[in-house]
Amino acid sequence: MMQELLAMDRRGLMARALVLLGASALPGCKELGGSAAWKELSAEHFKLLTAFADTLIPQTDTPGAVAAGVPKVLTQMYHDWASDETREALTGALDRIDAGARKAKEKGFTELTPAERQTFLAAHDKAALVEVPPPSDAPKGNPFVPPVSVADNGYHKLKELTAVTYYTTQAALTTELAYEHVPGGWTSSVKVTPKTRPAVTFGAF
């Protein structure tokens, strides 16, 4: 199990460790250009986002991202939360998924069968997340949250946002993971059983 850990997403691990320590898990200080203008995700992009979320986290014996309402939450966040820069990053990433599908399969991503989407997205994901040296003018970030530098930074953001949103929904937290809002007390040792699910933490520990 330890060897698996060494291969894990180090940035994510760092972010988690530093939440433990009390640092921000978010790229806090980055200056983001913003505007108060109402920005709506287009119907086209919503369709793409829905197909992407459905492929990334499909329905199994538990709800997938679509049944859990992730595309709706993300659409809301697109106008309520995202900066212009993030909006561009997200729609750009969706556009590149679609363009990639057209190139590989001669069909838009939404027109592929679920199996085709899955195969395509696995390859797209792998290529998009290849680490690359940051451009010389890239923001330095801070020691806790080094800036992301992968082949497709927008895709990294899209995937992370989609997954984090899914694992914050009531559906995911009550079926896939374990969450109790008021555990009632601390028990330092509990035997793992086949039914044990990872508990989600939102605080520092």
Binding site: R16, S83, G203, F205
Partner: protein, 563 residues
């Protein structure tokens, strides 16, 4: 209404000052620059994760405009943004190449509402450090002076912890400690066996592991292991001014609170040298008014209190009030922070834990205590924990999509250990806050300007913090995955202190051994600014103990007619 005493600031130290003064019969006014908080309406700790807006994030453009600095704090989010001052309204000036972060509350209770709650005593090793190695000036007190007040505060606020008999980290009046999990017990056993003199203990924390009658009287109950403490706790299970000290002051019938009142300056009677009143600006209407009293406690936080003193310059004191020594604003210190080492850890695969414990493990200082250091004075402690990694590290791998994400995410992850050093910083007069010569905030008060950098002693210590962490994790069977490279931006330790230090000599210090200004008899300062050295322990407990002790002394002086 006539007040005997005014307390400026309602946070960690101001809350305790108000409690102690009102309990001794004084009519007290607490002046808070931030907004009123009503826990019943304003806390968001009842919301389920999926009920928080935008996954508990504030809109990015709003963060960039109003909270670029505050959002560097882990506790900042949609559920807590009301507790953080807007950088756009309360800016801090620093040189371009020397950033310093001032994480700042903007509400009744101040940072006591979202603090990290780690609670440790200083020891005689700390109180004697300046005298021993010659950095800074000698503390005018020793551990014996503060011990009864540490006892007093711990019993009141409630601190979970274990007594360990350590010279460098004195024992206290503790509630039961939050037990280590099985992997942490394994780590503890390895470290203590392989490094005699080092200890791994449960992090001492101001959460009620078991509420006592004195807590229940104030409506507080035992900790529910939610670990979302920074949102404010409806159970009252963590100490904050809002759960403990202000309610205790309120029940005496002697407390008045005014919020949205920004202290501009203190007014001194040129004949007697005494403070007569406080000038405030109404945060909402910009109108000025004054409040009078006999006794003044300044608890506006380390930078805030220095700002008030410097902005209270008058004809006789052109350099600022109580500043004949020229030490106001100097000797700024903040623990080195963010020096983290993470390792994969061979913990028991069949063991897990339940609940979200509001603390982790603590490794008390051993360098320059039980073991020699390598070219530096003072030392450091570690905070951390060993836990099973969450869904994100398991699931978010390149090329992994679809059902595989779900399968990985719901598989219990392996154990990882993380320990991070908190390093002592020496008092250095050049690490300094001044008032900006021209910039003013929206209320016309000069903006604080901070110049701060760590020196050679701190840099030498950093190397040891990393090396010792690696050695302990590896000795316990861990495999180091990563280490940070440098400390976080200074200020992010959120332990800033030292800007009006205590000392024996009025020529080189601002406050005497009872936190009374050498030059102004009816002025006491008991927040972080009073600290003569920083130790490496989280400092809030010491501020509170100093506050209670100073209040007791001030009331005696008042009764004797000396103020």
């Amino acid at each position: 209404m006539a007040f005997d005493a005014i307390v400026i600031g309602s946070g960690m130290s101001g809350g305790i000052a108000a409690k102690e003064l009102t309990e001794r019969g004084l009519k007290v006014l607490v002046i808070e620059r931030g907004k009123m908080i009503d826990p019943a309406k304003d806390y968001m700790d009842h919301l389920m994760p999926w009920e928080l807006p935008n996954n508990n994030q504030m809109p990015e453009a709003e963060v960039a405009e109003h909270w670029p600095m505050q959002s560097m704090c882990y506790a900042f989010g949609a559920a807590t943004s009301k507790f953080f001052a807007k950088d756009s309204e309360q800016p801090l000036s620093t040189p371009e190449d020397k950033p310093f972060a001032w994480i700042k509350g903007d509400h009744l209770g101040g940072r006591s509402v979202m603090w990290g709650r780690q609670t440790y005593r200083l020891s005689d090793i700390d109180f004697g450090a300046n005298a021993k190695d010659g950095h800074g000036v000698d503390w005018p007190i020793r551990y014996a002076d503060l011990k009864p007040w540490y006892d007093h505060i711990e019993e009141f606020i409630g601190v979970a912890g274990s007594n360990e008999g350590l010279e460098q980290l004195p024992d206290g009046k503790f509630l039961p400690a939050f037990e280590l999990n099985d992997a942490e017990k394994q780590f503890k056993a390895s470290v203590e066996q392989k490094f005699p003199g080092r200890k791994v203990i449960s992090g001492r924390v101001a959460n009620l592991s078991k509420a006592q009658p004195q807590h229940e009287e104030l409506g507080r109950t035992s900790c529910q292991a939610r670990s979302i403490c920074e949102r404010g706790c409806r159970f009252g299970a963590m100490h904050s001014s809002l759960t403990s000290s202000l309610p205790a002051a309120q029940r005496t019938g002697n407390l008045t609170i005014v919020t949205d009142a920004i202290v501009h300056s203190l007014v001194q009677d040129p004949k007697t040298g005494r403070i007569t009143s406080v000038k405030v600006i109404d945060a909402k209407t910009n109108e000025g008014r004054t409040y009078e009293a006999k006794l003044f406690f300044l608890n506006a936080s380390t930078l805030g209190s220095a700002q008030v003193l410097l902005n209270s310059a008058n004809e006789a004191n052109p350099r600022g009030l109580a500043n004949g020594s020229d030490q106001v604003g100097r000797n700024l210190m903040d623990h080195m922070y963010g020096l983290a080492t993470v390792a994969a850890f061979p913990g028991p695969e069949d063991s897990y834990y339940h609940g979200r414990r509001p603390t982790g493990i603590y490794i008390p200082r051993f360098r320059n205590v039980t073991e020699a250091a390598d070219g530096y004075v003072r030392g450091f402690g570690y905070q951390g924990g060993v836990s099973r990694v969450g869904w994100r590290q398991m699931a978010l791998q390149p090329g992994v999509v679809g059902t595989e994400i779900k399968a990985r995410a719901h598989t219990l992850g392996p154990w990882t250990a993380m320990i991070a050093g908190f390093g002592e910083v020496l008092p250095n007069p050049d690490n300094r806050m001044t008032l900006h010569a021209t910039r003013k905030d929206k209320w016309g008060i000069p903006v604080p300007h901070v110049e701060y950098a760590i020196g050679p002693n701190e840099k030498a210590m950093i190397k040891h913090i990393f090396d010792d962490a690696r050695a302990m994790l590896e000795a316990a069977g861990g495999q180091v995955i990563l280490q940070t490279k440098e400390p976080a931006t200074p200020g992010l330790g959120i332990h800033e202190m030292g800007s009006a230090r205590m000392g024996l000599d009025p020529k080189t210090s601002v406050l005497n051994k009872f936190n009374q200004a050498h030059e102004v008899a009816n002025l006491f300062i008991t927040d972080g600014s009073a600290m003569t050295s920083s130790g490496c322990q989280n400092p809030s407990l010491t501020y509170m103990a100093l506050s209670a002790r100073a209040a007791d002394h001030a009331v005696q002086l008042l009764k004797e007619g000396q103020l």
